[in-house]
Symmetry: C2
DNA sequence: CTGTTAGCGCCTTCAT
DNA sequence: ATGAAGGCGCTAACAG
C-alpha cells in the first residue's frame, strides 16, 4: 500500500565510478558541456538514467556560489494593488537573503511608455533578471527585447507584452477575467433587465482593454436583455470616475449592473451611494484591497475578481531564479489564477 | 527610487571575527545551543543583528546532510480529489529527489477511525513527518498526539483535528466554504423562492458537517425565502446519492437550489437530469475534477467551491520540511484559499 | 565554555 | 578528452 518516491542517496562520485570516469566528466555531461567524447557521453548518461540520479541542489548552489540580482520595475503612484506586491516582496527579504538573492524595486510612470522604456534600458547589464509591469507599446517592447538580447531574464508582471520576447508572463488571463466579471454581473442581476455601466482606467491599457473585451463577449452572448453602456474612462482616478458615473446615473435610471475594470474604486462607490443605489446595482470590480474588502463586507460590492498579489510576487522571483539557473519552471505552481472573491471567502 | 533588499555577502566567519570568537561559537549561538557564556552570547548576537546576517541555507543543508522521510496517509478508494493530491505529489518527485526528501503514500479507509489510528501508530519512529487526511475521532486524535510526542512532525490535510496537537493544518476553513456555497446558491437563485436540497457524504465527517453548518447559517439569515430541506447522506456514493435525491425531487416540485457537500457528484447530476431540471436548479458543489469541469461547462453546475490540490500537496511538503528543519512557516504562502470556480475562471 | 578540523556534494580551474 | 584537487559556507565531532 505504500507507493514510494525515494530519493537517490547517490552522488556524482557514485555515477563516476559506475561509468568508469572521473567526477569532472560526469559534471560535464550533466550540464551538456563540450569536451567529452560522444561515446563517453553515452556511457555516463546511461549511468545517470539507470540510477535516476538527481544532483543535490544545495551542493550545486553552494559550489556555484553566485549571488543574483533582480530588479522589479513597478508603477509609481498610489495604486494599492502594486503596493501590495511590493509589500510582499519586502516580506520575502529573509528568504532572499538566505539564498544570496538581491531584489530592488524601481518606480516608473505607468502612463508614459517612453519613460518605462528608458528605465528598462538603463538596467541593462546590471541585473540577472528583471520583472516589469509593462505597457504594451513598441518602445517598451524594444527595450524588453534589448534586455533579453543582453542575456537578462525578463518576466512581465500583471500586464503582459506578448509580442516581446520576454521569457515568461506572471499574471492572469485578462480576457477570461473580463468574462468572469460579465458572468457574475449577469447572473447576480437575476431576471432583471436594464443597463450595465463600465468604468475603466483607460482602454489604452492592454489589461483593461482585454477585460472589457471579455466582459462584452459574455454580455452579448448570454445576457442580451442587459444593455451595455459605452465605457467611461476614469483614468483610475477617484474624482474623475465619480463624476463621470454620476452623470451617467443621471441619464439612465435603469442601470442594474456596474463593472469597474481598474482602480478608482472609491469614486465609483461614492457615485453609487449618491444615487442611493448601492444595494440594488450589482457591482463587480477587481482586486482585494482594504477598500474593496470593506465594500464587500458592506454589501456595496458583490464580487471582486482578484489575482493573489503575494503569489505574484513570489512567483515572479521564483521564475526569475529558475530562469537564471537554467532550471525548469513549475508551470502549475507559478500559474496565477483568477480568483472570485465574495464576502464569505475573503482571504 | 530604488529600494534595495541586498543580501548579506557575509559568512559565519566574518561574524566570528567581528565578535572575536570562533566559527563554532557563532554556530552555537545561531542555533541556541547550550555551552556558551551569556556574555559571549550577547556579543555574538549583537554582531549578527548589526549585520543582519542570514546563514546561507544551501550550505547549511549540505552540511547537515540528512535525508528526510515523510509519509502521506490518504483515504483509499476512488475519490478524485484525493487522487489529484497524490498525482501532484508524484509530479514533485524530481524536486523532492534533488533535496534528498522521500515521500511515501499510505492508503487507509476513511470511514474507519480505528483503522486510521492503527495506520498512524504503525508509523511511529519511521518518519520525520506525517501528513494525514484525518477523521475527527478520539482514537485518531490520540494517535496524532502519540506521533507528536515521539518527535514526528504532523500536519493534517484537507480535514482537520483541531483538538489534537498537530503542528499545522493545510486546508480550507470549511465553515466559510459552506457559507460561500450558501451565498452563491442564494444569490444565483435570484428573486425566486422555493426549497434548497443538501446532499452530503456523511454528517459524521467533520468537514462535511462544518460546510453544512456554514451553509445553513447563510440561508437562515440572508435567504429566508428559501427553505432548506433535511440533509441527504449519500456516503459520497453516486448511486445512493442519485436515489435519495430522485426521491426528494418526487416529493418537492419547488426545489430551486442544490448544494452537494462532498463527492458522489455523478449521481447528483444524474438525478437532476432525470427530472429535467439541470438548467433551472442552481447547483453548487465542491472541487474541480474532470467531472465537475464538464458539468460547469455544460451549465449543469453553476459553481464549484474548490481548494487547489496542487497547492495543498506542495504546501504540506513545504510545511513538514520547515517543521523538520526548525525553519519558520510562511503562513501567507501556505494558506489554502477557498476558490470559487465558475465556467469562465476554470483553472 | 571555546576552538580546531574534517567533511557535506558539487563546480571549477589547472594539469595532463 | 579527461582527471586531480581546492573550495563554496556551514555543521558536528573531538580536543582542549
Amino acid at each position: 500500500m505504500a507507493e514510494t518516491l525515494t530519493p537517490t542517496a547517490l552522488t556524482l562520485k557514485d555515477i563516476a565510478r559506475e561509468a568508469g570516469v572521473s567526477l569532472a566528466t560526469v559534471d560535464r555531461v550533466l550540464h551538456n558541456r563540450p569536451g567529452v567524447r560522444p561515446d563517453t557521453v553515452r556511457r555516463v548518461k546511461a549511468a545517470i538514467e539507470r540510477n535516476a540520479f538527481q544532483p543535490h541542489v544545495a551542493a550545486a548552489e553552494l559550489a556555484r556560489g553566485r549571488a543574483r540580482r533582480f530588479a522589479f520595475v513597478m508603477p509609481s503612484g498610489p495604486n494599492p494593488f502594486m503596493q501590495q506586491i511590493e509589500a510582499y516582496l519586502g516580506e520575502m527579504s529573509a528568504w532572499l537573503a538566505a539564498r544570496r538573492l538581491g531584489v530592488e524595486t524601481i518606480a516608473t510612470d505607468v502612463f508614459d511608455p517612453s519613460a518605462l522604456a528608458a528605465s528598462l534600458e538603463a538596467l541593462s547589464g546590471d541585473y540577472d533578471g528583471v520583472a516589469v509591469v509593462a505597457l504594451d507599446h513598441p518602445g517598451v517592447r524594444a527595450a524588453i527585447n534589448d534586455l533579453v538580447d543582453a542575456g537578462t531574464k525578463v518576466v512581465t508582471l500583471v500586464s503582459d507584452v506578448p509580442s516581446s520576447r520576454r521569457h515568461h508572463y506572471v499574471g492572469i488571463d485578462n480576457i477570461a477575467a473580463g468574462r468572469t466579471a460579465g458572468a457574475l454581473v449577469g447572473r447576480l442581476a437575476g431576471q432583471r433587465s436594464g443597463k450595465v455601466a463600465i468604468v475603466a482606467g483607460s482602454q489604452g491599457l492592454r489589461d483593461h482593454a482585454e477585460r472589457i473585451f471579455g466582459f462584452n463577449q459574455v454580455m452579448a452572448t448570454e445576457f442580451p436583455d442587459l444593455g451595455v453602456l459605452p465605457v467611461l474612462e476614469g483614468r483610475d482616478e477617484d474624482d474623475r470616475s465619480e463624476q463621470m458615473l454620476a452623470r451617467l446615473f443621471g441619464r439612465h435610471d435603469d442601470i442594474v449592473g456596474l463593472y469597474n475594470v481598474g482602480a478608482g474604486t472609491q469614486g465609483v462607490a461614492r457615485a453609487l451611494s449618491e444615487v442611493g443605489r448601492e444595494k440594488q446595482v450589482v457591482f463587480v470590480g477587481h482586486d482585494v484591497t482594504a477598500l474593496t474588502r470593506r465594500l464587500l463586507l458592506q454589501g456595496v460590492m458583490d464580487a471582486a475578481i482578484s489575482q493573489n498579489p503575494g503569489h505574484e510576487a513570489r512567483a515572479a522571483v521564483r521564475v526569475l531564479l529558475a530562469l537564471a539557473r537554467g532550471e525548469p519552471i513549475l508551470r502549475e505552481q507559478e500559474k496565477i489564477r483568477i480568483d472570485i472573491v465574495m464576502r464569505d471567502n475573503l482571504p
